[in-house]
Point group: D4
Chain length 132, copies 8
Amino acid sequence: MRDPNNVFHLAIPARDLDETYDFYVTKLGCKLARRYADRITLDFFGDQVVCHLSDHFDRDVNMYPRHFGITFRDKRQFDNLYKLAKQRELPFFQDLSKRFQGMIEEHEMFFLRDPSNNLLEFKYYYDDRMMY
Amino acid sequence: MRDPNNVFHLAIPARDLDETYDFYVTKLGCKLARRYADRITLDFFGDQVVCHLSDHFDRDVNMYPRHFGITFRDKRQFDNLYKLAKQRELPFFQDLSKRFQGMIEEHEMFFLRDPSNNLLEFKYYYDDRMMY
Amino acid sequence: MRDPNNVFHLAIPARDLDETYDFYVTKLGCKLARRYADRITLDFFGDQVVCHLSDHFDRDVNMYPRHFGITFRDKRQFDNLYKLAKQRELPFFQDLSKRFQGMIEEHEMFFLRDPSNNLLEFKYYYDDRMMY
Amino acid sequence: MRDPNNVFHLAIPARDLDETYDFYVTKLGCKLARRYADRITLDFFGDQVVCHLSDHFDRDVNMYPRHFGITFRDKRQFDNLYKLAKQRELPFFQDLSKRFQGMIEEHEMFFLRDPSNNLLEFKYYYDDRMMY
Amino acid sequence: MRDPNNVFHLAIPARDLDETYDFYVTKLGCKLARRYADRITLDFFGDQVVCHLSDHFDRDVNMYPRHFGITFRDKRQFDNLYKLAKQRELPFFQDLSKRFQGMIEEHEMFFLRDPSNNLLEFKYYYDDRMMY
Amino acid sequence: MRDPNNVFHLAIPARDLDETYDFYVTKLGCKLARRYADRITLDFFGDQVVCHLSDHFDRDVNMYPRHFGITFRDKRQFDNLYKLAKQRELPFFQDLSKRFQGMIEEHEMFFLRDPSNNLLEFKYYYDDRMMY
Amino acid sequence: MRDPNNVFHLAIPARDLDETYDFYVTKLGCKLARRYADRITLDFFGDQVVCHLSDHFDRDVNMYPRHFGITFRDKRQFDNLYKLAKQRELPFFQDLSKRFQGMIEEHEMFFLRDPSNNLLEFKYYYDDRMMY
Amino acid sequence: MRDPNNVFHLAIPARDLDETYDFYVTKLGCKLARRYADRITLDFFGDQVVCHLSDHFDRDVNMYPRHFGITFRDKRQFDNLYKLAKQRELPFFQDLSKRFQGMIEEHEMFFLRDPSNNLLEFKYYYDDRMMY
């Protein structure tokens, strides 16, 4: 179990703050902590993601080596997020899929793509020890 | 307070897994969760960082738009980490500094650089509401 | 997750303290913290509601813009409270209903009316991220 | 100790959503959960406050019978909030004061006024049993 | 939710420490914290019960006005304790029964009698708000 | 650490419910959960105490073998309660005293007497392992 | 409930650190905290196990008097671990078995043997009070 | 942070159960969970230690490769335990000492020896990340 008092923070590029706000706050349902002229800071599922206005975003999208997201311990939270992503038509980079079926490492995951080509991966493991 | 049961996960590039292991496990004191031929997965202060062997690491280092790290609620944890970084001679990208002195946003921070030019920022805010 | 150590407090008007006591403590099952000549303070589901004897209560009742209540994470607590309200014949302003069926925002809710025309809304969301 | 999983929610009137956003998000540092044409929902210190665009706000301001806020268990959080309110020049309805000095009920408190004349009271009790 | 750090303590009479030990530790499965010549202190389901060797125990047993026990939030813990009491043939003062069936106050309970005629009541409420 | 979800409950005699209410709620600051014609149920520092109207109260008061109370882990809570008891002139059976000074069992304690001659003991141990 | 902040630590002999690493980290899925020339320290299900390179390991294996392991409160964690042990073909000293069927002490358990003949026992009790 | 719901269990040899009881329960202040003819089970600082009557105890005592104990996060708990060990004249194998002074790995520790020559190590690290 991680410490509930600390916060992981991640800074990523955003090519436009309005579409970033639309993706993360309006659609994905993250909370907006602060908005400045050059960045948006988000309460991203309890951690912090800062979207910096920048020209250094990826022009093409690759799953590796960079992506980020949340691994849920509660399957219902994972399922609800997938349902939200479908209903609100968030852009999927890879739809829901299962990996390592029947193995102890079995998990479900899907990838979203934000407007600046950052990839978000959400996962659920059947064995919570496999989360790391 | 974030949910202690979930885990933030971040995938980053690593140009060499041995030096990555040395930086994160031996020096920074993160726990090694798994090691494969093409990646290392870490328990990074309770969250997960996956270092993928990759040629797509940054050749030069910039603070923006990409970096990641932990914001501590307990100053002692922050101070201990700084002391560790100094004693074990981890490469600093920016040494300990204070920002917004006297303001409510006042915080202390420092930046480390891993062997693949990923930047790690560690922070402590005097007002914990400013962590986001 | 909110901080279990802090308390939200809300002050509302009460036209009569005896009927207020009867509604909140005897019927709704809140705990009485203190009673003075001019007010009653309640442990209202873990937060604090203070009912001030006052002539400034609403003469007619409207759902907007003022009401308050609890959003439960556990459906059983929500269902139990609804059952209590029915059995003890608390005055409903709006009976149990579902909103946004099939949508990610789907939730169940009902409204009670206290003797001073304050409206209490209790809710349960199928996706706990929608609680805010 | 209250249940960290549930959320207190409060609906209040707002005469203008932009100035409401400015007061609660930009200045007071609450997180924005959602914004619609007719309301803003806030993560207000872990609970939920919904500001409904409405003409039914108070024209004049009185401490009783209606106000709301947070009672902190940790004096540092209370002190930091007061410092923030002063630095960011939030409108005070009543500045920092002590009540019941020397008594077990002794506490510090201050009142802010939002742009729609809603009053916010923040408190700190020296004896945490007095929080209710 | 009560504070996990504090402990309720209760002192009761015991006419004989060996039979008291046998009842509470060997049969009921409480942990022995300390044993002195004149008393036994127990970790009784997380709280403290001290059994003082004394001639002032009750000669006849009445349900009122004195008894003590635990109200469980988790039905499985309640059911397991009842099963233990049956299997280990602890003396029942009142066997498992339901009260207020169909009402919001509905609960299950049973009474045990210790060797010094102290009565122990264990309860489970279907609505956890009724535990007080 | 005890389970925050369960509740210890204790039933004690009360010779008069009004004076019992005055002692426990008005003076000692416990929360009233319910009041019936023949009993009062209290949220007593997070656990439950039920005061049954009864003629079987103790005519004279002895420290042994029966008393009850709370052992605090936080000295400030203990000190605050003592201050409250003094200010509100609760009847002491034994004033603040230290036992086992210099020993690992060292603790501070005081005894109050309720209107029905039930004794309440409140304690603080310097070594929290000695709480049992 | 035990204190989540403290750590149980156990030092055991290891005849070879590479095979020890393979057993505990690669197969059993424990996290490696540190590796020195003469020992490996592990985050063993949240506690600490230190494997010291030593010639004093057991030549033959006996269940008594020495073994160690985890007793899980959540059956799913126990079942997942058993599944992992089977899939990854960890050496069993005793396969899954039930003890005290129908009794309150009923539990499931299995024994693994590490490369240095240390025995690991994992257990699940149907009644969590029997964990001690 | 480890999971408060699980329990580490350790089985060790005891050459005599009465002296084992005296060492662990009477002197060290552990709670006795159960006593059988051939073993004693203890609540050892929240985890479980089982002392099996056995002839396979160590005839001579060595610090490596076998010992066990608790690493405390709170220095006061560590200091209190040391004070208890001194006052109750528990047999020390190594008195209080500091290791790695000035280094990030700095910690205090002492070793006790139980009557069956099992060694118990208790530790406190100034940087809690070094606990593993």
